[in-house]
């Protein structure tokens, strides 16, 4: 789910470049300040590991297909957010330069979508507080899957925002979201499984290689993280939805050229499958994230007006998502106490 240059306007590309470059510079400074020079070769080699790891697949039970590691979350677990972000950015840069994956103008978007969310949202706010000290427990697995899914959802969502804001693709916001979201839910689960498995193995074989979370685990940061994610998504969705009140049905009918939703849904499924293929094969199941720059963006026509009313409904929707996510967090809790 790399953004392509061809779908992006210079305004969006430039904004995301600025955001990613700023974050990159900040991370580079942070890393210097740690004075941990071991990080220099470690980051380079782990970046190469992420590439190499994609040569090895595992079979996903019951589907006949296979998945592999994406990278953002495991890097954050091993290196911490700052170094992880730098490594992800370098991997994406090499992909853009050598494999034409993404493209240079879209590189800012891709670094943001696949780097910021796993490193600075999913890891610190979801995985870290929920995983607990022992990385081999079911709880740590659940935390990895939840973190990967949320990271990827936010990233996929950013792709949609950036594409829509660029106004080069005609795909309406709503159907684009519907296209991306389920696919990235699947990718997220696969990514979470792969991450958790590898981390559990390494933690067992060599505990000192996996930094353990500092202090006692608490659910609060996780809830905060989920809350932020839910509010951003909810707010943005309702904001767009209000601009295209007829959003989905309209677009599906139009896409399919038929009025029955059935036909549209079938086509939609087919398209999703195509996207799934393209996402599983030529792409890397990296994490995505959400786009904070969105609010200020004075983009071209497809950007709907912000109104207080819709943002309120967005917040309500966000709270609903928060509730569901909170339930998931609570479900994890007993196991934490037990362990």
């Amino acid at each position: 789910m790399h953004m392509a240059d061809a779908l992006i306007s210079p305004a969006v590309g430039g904004t995301m470049w600025a955001a990613s470059a700023g974050l990159l510079a900040w991370c580079a400074r942070k890393i210097r300040q740690t004075l941990d020079h071991r990080l220099v070769p470690m980051m380079g080699v782990l970046g190469a590991f992420i590439f190499a790891s994609q040569m090895i697949n595992f079979s996903i039970p019951g589907t006949g297909s296979s998945g592999h590691l994406g990278g953002g979350l495991i890097l954050a677990i091993l290196l911490g957010p700052h170094a992880a972000f730098l490594v992800i950015a370098s991997v994406l840069t090499v992909q853009a330069l050598f494999f034409a994956d993404g493209g240079l103008l879209a590189l800012g978007c891709n670094i943001w979508n696949l780097g910021f969310y796993p490193a600075f949202i999913a890891f610190p706010f979801i995985y870290k507080p929920l995983a607990g000290a022992n990385r081999a427990t079911p709880r740590a697995w659940a935390a990895a899957i939840l973190a990967a899914v949320i990271g990827l959802q936010l990233g996929a969502f950013s792709v949609v925002l950036e594409t829509t804001a660029s106004g080069i693709s005609e795909l309406p916001f709503g159907s684009f979201v519907l296209l991306m979201s389920p696919v990235h839910l699947a990718i997220g689960i696969v990514e979470g499984l792969a991450t958790a498995t590898v981390v559990a193995f390494v933690a067992r074989a060599r505990p000192e290689a996996v930094p353990s979370p500092a202090g006692s685990a608490s659910l609060k940061p996780a809830l905060i993280g989920l809350g932020i994610a839910a509010l951003i998504v909810g707010g943005a969705v309702s904001w767009f939805a209000s601009a295209h009140p007829d959003g989905l049905e309209w677009s599906i009918a139009k896409v399919s050229g038929r009025e029955e939703v059935g036909g549209g849904a079938a086509l939609h499924e087919k398209l999703a499958r195509v996207q799934e293929k393209t996402a599983f094969l030529p792409d890397y199941g990296f994490q995505p994230a959400e786009e904070p720059a969105a609010e200020g963006e004075p983009g071209p026509e497809p950007w709907p007006a912000v109104s207080a009313g819709t943002t309120v409904s967005g917040v309500v929707g966000g709270l609903l998502v928060l509730l569901v996510a909170g339930a998931a967090g609570l479900a994890l809790r007993p196991r934490r106490v037990a362990s």
């Binding site: 070769p41 380079g44 060599r206 000192e208």
Partner: protein, 247 residues
């Protein structure tokens, strides 16, 4: 100059996992000597070598280079005197081109870019690799990689050369070239290796290590000719010695 003397006194080292790799190693190597460290896999050779430039620090005992004990504080200084060639050249050749890689050390030691490049070229010349200066290291053959890693160390003008398995992965010609090269160095040389023919040709003294302890030490011919001793430590009497000293 006194830096040419290398001394280990009762060196112990235990890896974080709990494995006791060195259990009291002592020896003294003087100016200009070429000493081989031999022993079976897992004997502790690499571990010992890493103590000579402070990559590892002993848990007990000490290593002295000249008059300086190797400690965290002296290590940066010691590393200027003790050049280390690692077992896998891929670990050592990390810069994008051969010239950049050989210049890495001189640049770190404060030389201006032109002077560092000058030194790097001279070192490449010395090992016969000038033609590869602009190539990326990963495209070289195993022998060429080895030569370049040696150049990278020579560019620092060390007093002591420490090498871990320098002839591994080399074809006979590459190995022959390497031995000629090593023989041409006047540095104090400490070479960990399984290649006993190389020991016979290049070194004057042998330290036999097994299980983290020195099991034997002495002139090459004497130690390597001791068949029972060699067999007891997973080694073989080299052919060249059989021919030279037929029983």
């Amino acid at each position: 100059m006194s830096h040419h003397i290398v001394e280990a006194r009762d060196v112990h080292y235990t890896y974080p996992g709990g494995h006791e790799a060195l259990r009291g190693v002592s020896f003294r190597i003087t100016h200009g000597e070429a000493v081989a460290v031999v022993g079976p896999n897992g004997a502790g050779k690499s571990t010992l070598l890493q103590h000579l430039n402070g990559t590892l620090l002993p848990a007990r005992g000490e290593v002295r280079i000249g008059d300086d004990p190797v400690t965290r504080d002296t290590a940066p200084r010691i590393r200027r005197a003790v050049g280390m060639v690692f077992q896998d050249p891929d670990d050592q050749l990390f810069m994008p081109t051969v010239l950049e890689d050989v210049a890495f050390g001189p640049l770190n030691h404060g030389l201006a870019p032109e002077a560092a490049a000058e030194r790097a070229r001279a070192a490449l010349e010395r090992v016969g690799m000038s033609h590869a200066a602009d190539q990326p290291p990963y495209r070289l053959s195993a022998g060429e990689k080895r030569a370049v890693s040696i150049a990278g160390v020579l560019a620092l003008s060390p007093d002591v050369l420490v090498m871990d398995e320098p002839s591994s992965n080399l074809d006979p010609r590459g190995r022959r070239r390497l031995m000629e090269l090593l023989k041409s160095f006047e540095h104090t040389k400490i070479i960990a290796t399984h290649d006993l023919e190389l020991v016979v040709e290049v070194c004057s003294r042998v330290i036999l290590l097994d299980g983290g302890l020195v099991k034997a030490e002495g002139p090459v011919v004497q130690v390597l000719n001791d068949e029972p001793l060699m067999l007891a430590h997973g080694l073989e009497r080299p052919h060249s010695l059989r021919h030279r000293h037929p029983h």
